[in-house]
Amino acid sequence: MNRKILLLTLLLPLLVTLAAGLAYAVLSLPEQPQQLPKLVINNMNESGVSHPVTAVLLNFRGYDTLLELVVLLLALLAVWSLNLPAAEPRSTPNRVLDTLTHLLTPLLILITAYLLWIGAHAPGGAFQAGSVLAAAAVLLMLAGWRIPAKLIGLPLRIILITGPAMFIIIAVRTLLFDGQLLKYPPAQAGLFIAIIETVATLSIAATLAALFLGTRPIAINKKNIEQASDNGSEHK
């Protein structure tokens, strides 16, 4: 306990100094941001969308967003490679959770589509839509739903990879036809962004939901269940 108090007395002045330094840095910034907002607003016509955040996310700084999608995939790969034992199947959900899931899942899917669509001209877009869709999947999993065995192998991997893959395909296409990575021609920018956002939404949602599982999903087919119940009866 003494050690903790000693640590605190040493740490607090350091942290206060750090906070004061950061506060000074923030308060001494110029009143108006200098260049970037003007650049964004002046080039909005070429971006293919009318919402500046989406334009920055998927056009002006598309490279960042591509790498963010890869980071998501890397996190999932790392989680899978840790190979934790699968969580025990939980008990059946009570009626409140069950009813709520029935009501909310279609609604969440609808909200996903709305957020994806509205992203072109208002706050929204692939990351928000993907998170909402992932929330729907997490809710389903809490209520006892499992990824169908048919989807677990290749189909799940394809969904996980389509977002970054489509982004890379479009990046290579712009590199070949327009000479610069991810520099969309203004006429087609809207279309490219819509394609990337749609597949990215699915990939983001699948990645987040798979991360929630915490381990590589295993097919729970009838055989496994029968084996499990056989083992159970042997123990008796």
């Binding site: 923030v26 308060l27 108006q32 955040v53 998501l72 996190a75 934790l84 929630f212």
Partner: protein, 102 residues
């Protein structure tokens, strides 16, 4: 002081509290939580600074960084939690091996 600077200062406060929590707690779950608090502080600073000029619309560049940052933070947290579970299953407790447990 305009409201944006006020929120930015709150963000710095969150960051510092998170850093303190990260250092003094030895339980890994508390460390992960503290790390997330630090991240939220950074996001708050970025969002606040995007709006610090009062008469022009918000700067979209920091906003876009925060959007992707949140999703990446969620996935990093998931990875951290899995690593923590792995540490628990290997060693039996949720602290790093060189921490003195009392």
């Amino acid at each position: 002081m305009n409201p944006a600077n006020f929120y930015a200062l709150i963000g710095i406060g969150l960051f510092s509290v998170g850093l303190l929590g990260l250092i003094i707690n030895s339980h890994l779950l508390k460390k992960i939580l503290a790390f997330n608090i630090m991240g939220s502080g950074v996001f708050l600073v970025l969002v606040a600074l995007a709006r610090r000029a009062e008469n022009i619309p918000a700067d979209p560049v920091p906003d876009a960084m925060v959007i992707t940052g949140i999703v990446v933070a969620v996935s990093a947290t998931a990875l951290a939690l899995t690593l923590m579970l792995r540490v628990v299953s290997e060693t039996g407790h949720a602290t790093l091996p060189d921490e003195v447990e009392k």
